[in-house]
């Protein structure tokens, strides 16, 4: 039963991961441009918040739920590469929480929202996750 479902769980996990990462990258770019070109930033942040809550957030939950189901079915939880990957995905989830909060602020005020640009962290993390998942060192 679990063996039959494995490819489907993996497909859903990868789909959710792509939607989650694309949402993270878009949010960090939007927050960056809200600082550098504030005209219309509130409307853009408001529109993107809807996307964030309807697509990126459920995708993040899907990444975890399908990822845990997949790792449990294969028995990967004791493997070092998965433990490192879990830490990196937790970091990305925390970054998403932070960016979601900043979007909430950006959609409510025309004042520039302080905070660091998380794009380099996101790109490095995604590269590390792909290497860990594919190579499984």
């Amino acid at each position: 039963m679990t063996a039959n479902l494995y490819p489907w769980i993996k497909a859903l996990h990868v789909t959710c991961a792509m939607l989650f990462v694309s949402g993270l990258i878009c949010a960090s770019l939007l927050l960056h441009f809200a600082r550098t070109s504030p005209d219309g930033a509130v409307a853009r942040a408001l529109a993107f918040r809807r996307w964030d809550s309807r697509v990126t957030m459920p995708a993040m939950i899907g990444v975890w739920a399908f990822g845990i189901a997949m790792a449990q079915s294969v028995g990967w939880f004791t493997n070092g590469w998965l433990q490192v990957k879990l830490g990196i995905v937790l970091l990305l989830s925390a970054v998403h929480g932070m960016q979601s909060g900043r979007l909430r602020r950006a959609s409510a005020t025309i004042e520039p929202i302080p905070g660091m640009n998380w794009l380099p962290t996101i790109l490095v993390s995604v590269t590390a996750i792909v290497v860990l998942a594919v190579v499984k060192p």
């Binding site: 993040m60 939950i61 975890w64 739920a65 845990i68 189901a69 449990q72 937790l90 989830s93 925390a94 970054v95 998403h96 929480g97 932070m98 960016q99 979601s100 909060g101 900043r102 909430r104 602020r105 905070g115």
Partner: protein
């Protein structure tokens, strides 16, 4: 234990309190029920069931803390003790209890029982 600033949104604090309770409950169930059953009674199903539930509850709690910090509802340095409390059994219940006081201070109607 540091808690969010008084000006924090009461609705957000109520959600954070709920997540702290869920996270703390699942951690206690995992550490004090499921893990002993696995090692003493050779019954691993409890860990397999509660482990992922606690993982998702932990994720939800951490996500909410960072969202609150990102939204400016409390300072980032104040979020870290709340993160640490997620790793200590029963500390989440203390966090939830203190958040109740915080909610009462932020919404006087609720603290008066109305």
């Amino acid at each position: 234990m540091s808690l969010p600033d008084n000006q924090a949104d009461p609705a957000f604090l109520r959600q954070l309190r709920l997540m702290a309770m869920v996270e703390a409950s699942t951690l206690v169930a995992l550490l004090f029920v499921a893990v002993p059953l696995k090692h003493l009674a050779d019954w691993p199903l409890g860990v397999r069931a509660i482990g992922p539930i606690h993982g998702l509850a932990f994720l939800g709690y951490i996500w909410m803390l960072f969202q609150g910090a990102g939204a400016g509802l409390f300072r980032q340095r104040r979020a870290w003790p709340l993160v640490v409390s997620a790793f200590i059994p029963f500390a989440g219940f203390m966090t939830a209890h203190r958040l109740s006081h915080q909610i009462g201070a932020a919404s006087p109607l609720e603290s008066n029982g109305r």
